[in-house]
Amino acid sequence: MTGIVGAIVEAWDELRIHKLRVLLALIGVAVAVCAITGITAAAQMMNQAVKEQTERSGGRATTLMVSAYPTGSVAPTGEQYDAEFTQIVERYGVEYASRELYSQLTFRFPNGAQPVQVQAVDVDYGVMRRVQPVQGTWFAEADADRFAPAVVVNEDFLELLGVSDLSGHPTVMLGGKTPVRTTILGVVATQWEGEGPTAFLLYDHFTRWASPDVQYGPVVPNLSLWVPPEMADELTELVRRDMSAGLPGTQTDVYQQGGGFDVLEGGARWVITGIGGVALLLGGLGLVNIALVTVRYRIREIGIRRSFGATSGRVFFGVLMESVVATVLAGLLGVMAAIVIIKNIPVERIFGAGLQDVPPFPLSAALVGMACATAVGALAGLIPAIVAVRVKVIDAIRY
């Protein structure tokens, strides 16, 4: 016990005394560990950003987009669509599903009525497409029971309304056969410059209160289903079969959206790991070099320690430990630096959008970095340790 503690204390003392030397040798190791850990973490963050972007537009992995367009002159009614959609969702126990349809509705703005692109969806749509209101909230389950419709609008809509925020609980008249006052629940960011006003409406509110513009074409609802990726293929077939049978006279399509995307897949991973590895190797070589020079410089000291009763094993372990303790410290610094850098990355500016689910700093990357640092320390310490043990005590003392 005291042997091990003694060796570690001795190693620490050596590092303390040769601070500058150690510092110089370790910068390389720390930078390499920082690079390996940081790059892995950054790639994970980038993956997440890309994934979230993809999911916003195409749904999460894996989303089944189900549509049944009438092929003849007779189209199924909204109720028939609803009944069929409900059956499918219940039959396959789909946890997140949303009916979706695009339409155009007229809203009354202070400067006159204006047609607005409207998307009627179910509450689950918010989770499935990672909708992040910049103000207010997305729909909740209870909103379906409102006595008047509620909308989530985009920033252009709000601007057109002459309102800057939701603090005054703004409302807007939804025109049509029976105009109705709608409450604005939330505001989402405008997707692109000049997008114009858009709004989300709950599907049930749409069927109850909306009078779609007939010139906009027939209103055919779609169904989005968020299903486990491993079941996606099987469900695609089953849903297509069920829809065709349940809604005769329609062309049923089911396609998958929202595949995952891994920027660290394949070659990129190897390139990044390779760069980190080379950096670590260079750091390690620097360490071997300096450790060797130091051992030669310290031959007398090693001899003196032998006169205190240090065994060859202890001398070997001591020199090895110096290197390991040093690289572990450097590794720790490297990992810490990587964390600081990653946590301070201006995500929005680099990836174009804020992250909803910021991935935690990858523990695995930190552990790999630390393991690499320790291994490099052990390898770098091996040669000087062997040199130290082979020193002849008598010569060493006279050195």
């Binding site: 005291t2 003694g6 204390v9 009763g309």
Partner: protein
């Protein structure tokens, strides 16, 4: 039973041209616990080799070395290292303090190889030892800020901090002036006597050697007992020999170049 006993010990090395050089020949020496022994001899006569063999830093080519009843030849390298740490304290001519470490850390250094309570209390023990050699107020001073005499006192404290049974001093005053050398030797004698440790000093300084109870002369690798400074006599180097003469007719002190 003697604390350490060398019987017919030889030490030789093979030279690059394959000749064998005998450094020690048939050395027989017995030292009891607490005894003070001096070995005198000119440079290159094998003094340091003898000390290294005694201190288990080197092994004899032939002959037997028994330390406190244990034949050393039968011990493993590891066991020898342990005995070296437990039983011996070294005082070197060049002090050999560890650079970059304070006086306290230097004295505590041998205790890093001790076990149990001694290991954990190393700084307390080291501070006590430094206090004993009169450096209680210089604990945190670096060796390069200490005078030669102070450095050797730190080295003495370091040699004694593990309470060794034998102190091996290799030219302990070699790097000090006469006055400081005398003070350091007095301290070494005193502390060695206090702790009951045997003191074996090798030196070419006859005044230092004269402090011991028994004296030996090493010349050409052969160890012979001699008498230094018998009552009414002084001893002087005559060539390779320390020669005693009556005080009144003492040979004049010869200069170094005259001796050669």
């Amino acid at each position: 039973m003697a604390l350490l006993e060398l019987t017919d010990v030889t030490r030789s090395v093979r030279l690059p041209d394959d000749r064998i050089l005998a450094i020690l020949q048939g050395v027989t020496l017995s030292v009891d616990a607490g005894e003070h022994v001096a070995v005198v001899g000119r440079s290159g006569t094998g003094k340091s080799t003898l000390l290294n063999i005694l201190g288990l830093l080197d092994a004899p080519t032939s002959g037997e070395y028994v330390l406190d009843g244990t034949p050393i030849g039968r011990l493993s390298g590891r066991a020898r290292a342990r005995r070296r740490g437990d039983d011996f304290g070294f005082v070197f001519q060049q002090f050999n303090l560890l650079p970059g470490r304070t006086a306290l850390e230097n004295v505590a250094a041998p205790l890093m190889y001790a076990r149990g309570k001694t290991f954990w209390r190393r700084f307390t023990l080291a501070a006590q030892m430094l206090d004993r050699v009169g450096l209680g107020d210089r604990l945190d001073t670096m060796p390069d800020k200490l005078s030669g005499g102070e450095q050797q006192r730190v080295a003495i404290a370091r040699a004694l901090v593990r309470r060794p049974r034998v102190i091996l001093a290799d030219e302990p005053t070699g790097a000090l002036d006469v006055e400081t050398g005398g003070e350091v030797m007095s301290l070494l004698d005193e502390i060695a006597s206090e702790s009951g440790a045997a003191l074996i000093a090798i030196t070419h300084d006859l005044a230092v050697a004269a402090r011991a109870q028994r004296h030996y002369r090493l010349a050409g690798g052969v160890l012979l007992p001699i008498v230094l400074n018998a009552p009414g006599q002084v001893t002087e180097w005559i060539g390779d020999l320390p020669v005693s003469a009556p005080l009144a007719t003492a040979v004049p002190i010869t200069l170094e170049e005259d001796r050669a």
